[in-house]
């Protein structure tokens, strides 16, 4: 499933159009600035040709060109895992409750698979359009260390893979949302409360 390309198909069309436009603009009246623009254009064309943006790997952007859900042509894949020091049945019972499921936003969520104490899968739609689908599986951590929760989400980014990269850089990526949800689950299950500072005094005005 993991292929060497990491640009989405729609992106590649955009990269070709953008690359050609930049080079054409540079050729109309050559200058040093426009030569720079032309080389950026060339780089875009090269990426469109190879289907790879070298910046995506360090950013953690992974594209799936053949997702399991038929109504998504391409998706961005997010995978995270967390170990929770509680028994599997308790963790399952908690995550299964609607508000605790590690979904990305308040979308309409439909559970598509349920295996007691082991697996959950779901589809999240907004106005009947698929936003993301995900699954989690639970297994016992070795040595009686609790439960390992592994989550895989695939979402359809607005703005293609470039949009996904930008949201990563801005720090509000689906990855962050997922990690925050899993951490929330761990805190509630292990300590019974969520760590917070909201409402504490400060000298800010």
């Amino acid at each position: 499933m993991a292929s060497k390309t990491n640009l989405m198909r729609a992106d590649r069309v955009g990269y070709v159009v953008g690359g050609i436009a930049l080079i054409a603009w540079a050729l109309r009246r050559p200058s040093w600035v426009r030569a720079g623009a032309a080389s950026v254009g060339g780089w875009l064309l090269y990426q469109a040709y190879t289907g790879r943006n070298p910046m995506f790997k360090p950013l953690g952007i992974r594209v799936n060109g053949a997702p399991a859900e038929v109504d998504a042509a391409e998706t961005i894949v997010v995978e995270e895992a967390i170990t929770i020091s509680r028994p599997r049945a308790e963790v399952y019972a908690f995550l299964q409750r609607g508000e605790n499921l590690p979904v990305l936003a308040d979308e309409a969520v439909q559970i598509t698979r349920e295996v007691e104490n082991a697996e959950l899968a779901w589809r999240a739609t907004r106005a009947d359009r698929l936003e993301h689908f995900g699954s989690l599986d639970l297994r016992d951590a070795p040595g009686g260390r609790g439960t390992i929760v592994s989550v895989r989400l695939e979402y359809v980014p607005s703005g293609g893979s470039l949009g996904a990269a930008i949201s990563h850089l801005m720090g509000r990526s689906p990855q962050r949302v997922l990690v925050d949800k899993l951490r929330r689950a761990r805190a509630l299950l292990e300590t019974g409360e969520l760590p917070t500072t909201a409402g504490q005094p400060t000298g800010r005005r």
């Binding site: 761990r186 760590p195 500072t197 504490q200 000298g203």
Partner: protein, 390 residues
């Protein structure tokens, strides 16, 4: 209430802020009776720690009286006199269950920030930047204490506030630094930095069976204290070549264990290395100045242990990996797992084995905090440790 607020580099102010309230069932509110400025607060004061926001309430060394508890706190009640440990720890997670409280996985609501810098997040800490949770600190009239059913320890009336205050941080920190040395009979331990943590590391090394302790600093009042109060052998690094002197003092072999009680803002006397690190730090090419750490590694006996109690924040340059590897050295470090040490150390204080109040040189009102920070930073008036009384 009144609280010491961070505003900018070298700018702390005492301000009126709202009183803290219970936010979670396991919280307690403590009326602060005594609080101290820590050497690590000077890293915040000097602007060396990222993630500080104007208005943040400082302070992680404090003790006081419980005035209110949340619904889930059964072991404390209003009126109890308690010392609060600086690491905020839940007591339930993988790390807390292994008594590695400063690594608590559940207490830092801003864990993602720390992960960006350090890979994984340690626990939240009172008044120690948003990287470590952004919790309001204890240099104030009142403080909110999360996980109050796990952290605070009740103290007997027979001991004064000043005798127990340092159970919150620096006494356990000095003790853990010595414990990490794995001291064997006959061992010589060298301690870089004779501030309060260094003093407690020296005292603890002796308590744990060290034969000799060598104290390294440049401030005469600290060296004098280490020599007279604790029987350590003082070395002034501005006068002697530390590496050569240590070699001589230890029969040509080096100290069995070396404690770095200095951290990221180390100084060195007329040294190229210091100038190099200071310039790189100022240019933001290196966050920490590891002058003491490098020297401790270089000085340590082969097969010995370097115990790091001083605080580091980020990256260092010119790390002597070759020395470490070829001479089978061990480095042990960590933010102190204070909760693990409070009870045994309280017992030692009760038995009279140690009276931690010997490091206090200055007692000021909370209102005088800006003066106290300046005095402590610049070591004016032979200042070693400041206690603030709200």
């Amino acid at each position: 209430m009144k609280a010491v607020c961070w505003h900018d580099k070298l700018d702390v102010r005492v301000e009126r802020v709202p009183d803290p309230v219970i936010l979670n069932p396991r919280d307690a509110i403590v009326r602060v009776r005594a609080t101290a400025i820590c050497g690590s607060d000077l890293h915040l004061y000097g602007g060396f720690v990222p993630g500080m926001v104007k208005g943040d309430i400082l302070g992680h060394e404090f003790m006081g009286e419980v005035v209110e508890v949340g619904s889930a706190v059964k072991n404390l009640q209003a009126g109890d006199r308690v010392v609060v440990p600086f690491p905020i720890a839940c007591g339930n997670c993988f790390f807390c269950q292994r008594e590695l409280y400063s690594l608590c996985e559940n207490s830092n609501p801003n864990a993602w920030m720390a992960e960006k810098l350090w890979g994984y997040s340690p626990c939240g800490i009172f008044g120690y930047s948003h990287l470590l949770g952004g919790y309001a600190g204890g240099q104030a009239e009142y403080a909110r204490v999360p996980f109050a059913d796990i952290g605070p320890i009740k103290v007997p009336d027979s001991l004064s506030d000043e005798q127990v205050l340092f159970l919150s941080d620096i006494l356990p920190t000095g003790f853990m630094a010595a414990e990490n040395c794995g001291i064997q009979p006959g061992d010589t331990v060298a301690v870089w930095g004779c501030g309060p943590v260094g003093q407690f590391a020296i005292a603890s090394a002796f308590l744990l069976g060290a034969e000799r302790v060598i104290a390294i600093d440049r401030f005469q009042e600290r060296l004098r204290l280490a020599a007279t109060a604790l029987d350590a052998e003082p070395v002034d690094y501005t006068e002697d070549n530390v590496l050569e002197l240590l070699k001589e003092m230890t029969g040509g072999r080096g100290p069995d264990a070396c404690i770095d009680a200095v951290g990221m803002e180390a100084h060195a006397h007329h040294s190229m290395a210091f100038a190099y690190d200071r310039v790189k730090q100022a240019m933001m090419l290196e966050t920490d100045r590891p002058v003491a750490l490098r020297e401790a590694i270089q000085a340590c006996r082969s097969g010995g242990t370097i115990s790091v109690a001083g605080v580091y924040g980020g990256m260092i340059d010119k790390f002597p990996a070759g020395t470490l590897m070829n001479r089978s050295l061990t480095i042990r470090t960590g933010q102190t797992h204070v909760q693990r040490y409070m009870r045994p150390l309280l017992e030692r204080i009760e038995k009279g084995e140690i009276d931690p109040s010997f490091v206090i040189t200055h007692r000021l009102a909370l209102d005088e905090a800006p003066l106290a920070y300046r005095m402590f930073r610049d070591k004016q008036d032979d200042c070693i440790k400041v206690v603030l009384k709200p």
